[in-house]
Point group: C2
Chain length 432, copies 2
């Protein structure tokens, strides 16, 4: 029931909106939810279909009543708070309305060209937590910070996570101001304050939380999928020099909280049902998860067949008409823990999750350098510059650079679903 | 101007509400702000005066118009967002209304007995950040986790902080469910999941943020006081066994986010003006703060003359009619960094603070054991049980224990201002 595959996923299903058929991101099998505004209106809920956005407020009378009642505001928090069955009912109606030609005359007036719209955060984010479940990233970074001890003893027992900053999360397209902060390299006697010299991105998936739990009442691993609304792309911008100097003993703080970029569309758990795969086998000798993190359904279908990609353009590349340069590709199956395990662990002490909370997976790197999810890994901590088209190199990000994250869910016999993108450009630090 | 002392602070000022005169917490010089409800009404803004709460919505027509317009909801966020001058104007009017007998007939209908009311969080908390500025605590704890390295090299350069969980913050009086979690003692081969065996409190001050800043635009140290609305007591409940096992490399997470208790009244920055003192001299050889953290006014009057106290009652003590046992007393002047330095550092990378954000100072311990701000310090990590009245001992908290935090601002020639209290009782873990 949780990961139910049905006629809305059928690869043969087509929309009467022609641009949806074969669309890289938003075919009719996707139906992602988001908040958009057009020049003539305030932010409101919509669904991406091909090159259009369907205005849900305009067709509220055609939607299931329970879901329709949550759609009159400028966030999706109220929809997220509903039981997953209500979101499934909404998906089924949307799939029918957008596939059957007899509805086209009714629906067409509620469609807006995506290029004319601006996207907003899908929800008011109460709390944001970033995990660290990309085991290859944890190993790579661990080697640089703690050469003798890359993976700490707790890593294979605990989905390690920490709290991030909710206020500084922005949707794709909003520029990132290079942060200032304290940094002290090994050869400096004392720290100084100024613009970060080692600005980096991190390729992550974001997880939107649906129904919450009461304080003191953990979410069991079997129930966890019911609390997960969907996914997005997440760029956890990181100032490595600030991080190295500040992170002991309480973890990253100003190195991370200056800006986080998310893609605006919520790729729903319902849409992703056909792209579930078995949790990759743990390495021989790895400990079993403790019982509160172990569930046969989660082991069998808790991981995700999602391909991830990072591209870069520089100011020079754009001025020269060069295409974005692909920095890495990898798979979300490189997560050591499933999303359900993240949710269950987070609430296992009674911590209350709320609709609209956001979790990050942590950087997802593949085992090979072609799949490293950050410049810190790709440039070996800045030691190995990366060659770019147009005769440039990079170790870390320079002003004017733009990072573009994309993702596609893929499965045999299924249409691929795209995530849209999370992109943003680096602006110089402000003069103070 | 920032720390302006005026007639509202005059020790000779008296209220026509007799219980206010000589009141331990809420004399007319205090006038703290909060959100309360009475049996017949929804949560709304009020001011504590003696044994009463003044309902601000009922006297809105007597208040300055700008502030009055922010008081019609069930949080103080809109009031917090105003310039500090508007809060000062409100304080002056409240002081007049509650001191001059001619207003008593007008005001009395808007007074409710505090004992008949329930308190609520003063604001919707967007983000919560916990600092670590209690240097004696940092040293004591550091010795237990890192015997060779109690204070890390960054401590005297950076007001160390990390993000906490906003959703699980509760006001005084709400029970704390003992968290479960993963713990592994040194002599255990692998971790297990179950109720925390080393549950602790932490004595902190909370800082309510007023006006925010735009993303990318730091708050200078000179401007920082304008962004601080006031203070409260904060108990950062901590599960030491969960903490020891989970905290590397990204800091505390589930060890802290199961519950945080705050006192409900906001003791305003305006009220605290006379209790400002010079930042205690740094030890010889300590580095100067970097220029962005250095301000002559902050050095001269950025610290706080506030006495702090922690008391404990056990179920047995309460059943035996024994008084609460005082565990420690200390002073807020044991903070190595000022609150203005915390605010400025937090925003120094461009991170956007918002009205209603909450900062914790971190545990404030005095140098001597009589002023240690946690059981982890008082019991030397559990090695030295503390003797209690009624023939009990404690290393960490047991079910039924209640912790009570109190504080008083004190200055020569001034009336003392109390903070009320932050108290809560430990309930057993839920059966799973």
């Amino acid at each position: 029931m949780t990961f139910l595959i049905d006629e809305t996923h059928d690869a043969a299903l087509r929309s009467w909106i022609e641009s949806a058929n074969g669309h890289l991101d938003f075919p009719i099998q996707n139906l992602p939810l988001g908040i958009f505004s057009s020049p003539d209106g305030r932010p409101r809920p919509g669904v991406a279909i091909g090159d259009f956005i369907l205005d849900l407020q305009k067709i509220a009378n055609l939607l299931p009543a329970v879901a329709a009642r949550t759609l009159d505001g400028s966030t999706l928090n109220a929809l997220f708070a509903l039981p997953a069955t209500e979101r499934r009912a909404l998906r089924h109606v949307l799939s029918r309305l957008l596939s059957r030609t007899e509805y086209s005359a009714t629906i067409e007036p509620a469609l807006l060209a995506t290029v004319d719209c601006v996207m907003h955060p899908p929800a008011a984010i109460g709390d944001y937590t970033d995990f660290y479940v990309g085991i290859h990233h944890a190993t790579n970074i661990g080697k640089q910070f703690r050469p003798d001890n890359p993976l700490l003893p707790n890593y294979k027992h605990i989905p390690i996570g920490y709290h991030g900053r909710a206020s500084s999360i922005r949707v794709s397209g909003i520029d990132v101001v290079r942060p200032k902060g304290q940094r002290k390299s090994a050869d400096e006697e004392s720290p100084s304050y100024g613009p970060s010299r080692r600005l980096d991105y991190e390729l992550e998936l974001g997880v939107w939380i649906g129904r919450g739990n009461l304080l003191g009442e953990p979410i069991s691993i079997a129930e966890a999928p019911e609390h997960i609304v969907g996914l997005c792309l997440l760029n956890d911008w990181s100032a490595r020099d600030l991080q190295a100097w500040e992170y002991q003993p309480l973890g990253p703080f100003l190195a991370k909280n200056f800006h986080t970029t998310v893609s605006p569309w919520v790729i729903t758990a319902e849409a992703l049902a056909p792209y579930r795969i078995a949790q990759p086998r743990r390495a021989p000798g790895d400990p079993d998860p403790l019982p509160y993190l172990l569930d046969s359904e989660d082991q069998a279908r808790g991981a995700l067949a999602i391909d991830l990609e990072v591209s870069l353009t520089t100011a020079h590349m754009r001025a020269s008409g060069l295409d974005p340069h692909r920095l890495s590709t990898g798979s979300a199956s490189n997560m050591y823990w499933t999303i359900a395990q993240m949710v269950t662990h987070h609430s296992s002490n009674g911590c209350d999750l709320q609709p609209g909370d956001l979790l990050g997976t942590g950087t997802i790197s593949a085992p090979d350098p072609g799949g490293y999810g950050s410049l810190m890994e790709l440039s070996r901590g800045g030691a190995m510059p990366i060659a770019l088209p147009g005769d440039e190199t990079r170790t870390f990000l320079e002003d004017g650079d733009e990072i573009i994250l994309t993702a596609r869910a893929m499965a045999p016999g299924r249409v691929a679903l795209g995530f849209g993108h999370a992109k943003a450009r680096i602006l110089p630090s402000r003069a103070s």
